[in-house]
Symmetry: C2
Subunit: 352 residues, 2 copies
Amino acid sequence: MSAHRGETTPAAERGARRRRSSGRVTLQDVAQAAGVSPITVSRALRGERAVAPDLVARVQAAVDQLGYVPDPAARALASSRSSQVAVLIPLLSNALFVDLLDAVQRSLLSAGYQTLIGVTHYDPAEEEALLRSYLLHRPAGLIVTGFDRSPAAAGLIASSAVPCVHVMETSQREGVYSVGFSQNAAGRAMSEALLARGRRRIAFAAAQLDPRTLQRAEGYRAALQAAGCYDPTLEFLDPAPSSLALGGALLERVLAAAPEVDAIFFNNDDLAQGALLAALRLGIKVPERLAVAGFNDLTGSDQMLPPLSTVRTPRSEIGREAAAMLLKLMRGESLAEPHRDLGFEVLMRGSC
Amino acid sequence: MSAHRGETTPAAERGARRRRSSGRVTLQDVAQAAGVSPITVSRALRGERAVAPDLVARVQAAVDQLGYVPDPAARALASSRSSQVAVLIPLLSNALFVDLLDAVQRSLLSAGYQTLIGVTHYDPAEEEALLRSYLLHRPAGLIVTGFDRSPAAAGLIASSAVPCVHVMETSQREGVYSVGFSQNAAGRAMSEALLARGRRRIAFAAAQLDPRTLQRAEGYRAALQAAGCYDPTLEFLDPAPSSLALGGALLERVLAAAPEVDAIFFNNDDLAQGALLAALRLGIKVPERLAVAGFNDLTGSDQMLPPLSTVRTPRSEIGREAAAMLLKLMRGESLAEPHRDLGFEVLMRGSC
DNA sequence: CTGAAAGCGCTTACAG
DNA sequence: CTGAAAGCGCTTACAG
């Protein structure tokens, strides 16, 4: 078995290998040093099935002495499961998802998992292709954004049997796991806060128009309808990507189309920040003449002039919780709460 | 060999597997369908060594018909090389690195490589640990930020023999590859632009104090010294992480310590944006009373009031070029230019 | 609680 | 240009 090894010089000595030895310290080496069989080493290391304490100690000593680290590729091939978790997010250019990712990555890394990031650009076809490609890598787990995806993509997830957590939205679906908050309720809450401050002609301005943005729009609609203030001509939905510049443009567009508007609720803080800056430029008094509200509480919103009122969304907490849930699922444990709602917070600062 | 396969129902039929068959379509299956040996399939697929055209066609037909996709884990184990590229960046919270990452990821993905992202938090120990962990995954390539790292980390890269490209800085080092721009020259160029507009009491305000920030500080020093305007008390270096809020605080700190300052050069746009906002709040006229300059041209800088003067840095181009260089190295090709300087652009907008 | 055998799905190293 | 054999470094499935 290890005949060719016997003829080889120590691993450290480069280029001296005969056949295909990679110079790596293997399970075999550890087993030999500890005087046990390879399977025992494997079991001792993974904590799978009980191994006699003294053997575990001997294995551990050999591992430390030789500096052994398991080979992820061999492990993946033999067990059909890698130590990688694939995370699919729509965009890297929205700080929201970067915060989410950062939290996921930190939690997973400390548990020994690597993160494979896939950016879907809000494109179902791209998501499907990424899923197909990542699933080949036998990921140990999967984190995906929201529930809207092609039937084919959903089918890939389901049939892969890879543990999967859905993030950013809430759900009651059976057999799936999720952590997030109600986008609809958040949209409604901010709208109600605006109404509570006496605003009546409230516009809703949004970009990107992804599923979660539309859910927030529904919350806005519900709140305004309940207050008898709903006017469909006050919805400004632009499918273009979100940006500060677009926020400024939307402000002008809203004011041109509906000069009597007394508040604008933007679906993301970058738009609202851009609008605030544009208002400054145009000499439009905020909040006296016009209230401006955003969403997500991105960095800088508290530094605006006036500070931006917005909805704080718990993306870091969502990332941490998603990782925690996934870790349990990957261990084969069941989840007491398959769906977690982490809520949100309406932050009224100076702009409303 | 495939005895247990013979007893198995088709791959699609779930749970029907006997021994360890994963239900996956394998090289074997393709070989059998095409009527050739597995090695021939392997070679036909990888384009390694010439294979008779008609065999290639038969193999391709079988692949298409069976929907075969190579198993990355098996490939990595057998060849000691995976289809993953590890990218090490300091932070995810700086848009600069997100842009870089996005570009790298796109280029690599279209070439069939996955990206493994490691966030070092500017900590040499973290970088070393990440390197150690990622190297175990037999990455096909490596992209790291800058040249400042622990000797141990540098040693890991060198002895791994994994192709590696260094990004964000320029260098003349032998045997390594890099793509970036001169941070020093960029710092100097903006300082000279400020001098050219008649500013004389120019402060340098920086956060994080990473190697590249300090290189920009040197460029600033050189420019001011050459103009006979250098005053060491006008350097405000804060090791805290960069943020809009810190930018505002730094503005106040500079003005309190040196009221006669007529310009502040911030080492990153988020600081400068925060300073601009604080100036608005404090009623400090920009650029009349005080010129404000930033670095990197991050999103929103052109929307500021007044628009922020800054240095546009080509991080997306760096990402694309790094990926292109790495792709060549991974193919075993040599690089005509081991070091690429992509330059920068001083952008004078309204704030100076 | 421990182990000998076989296998995961590819590629390398030798031959011809 | 093509192939039979062995191997990459682990874990699964069976036994005891």
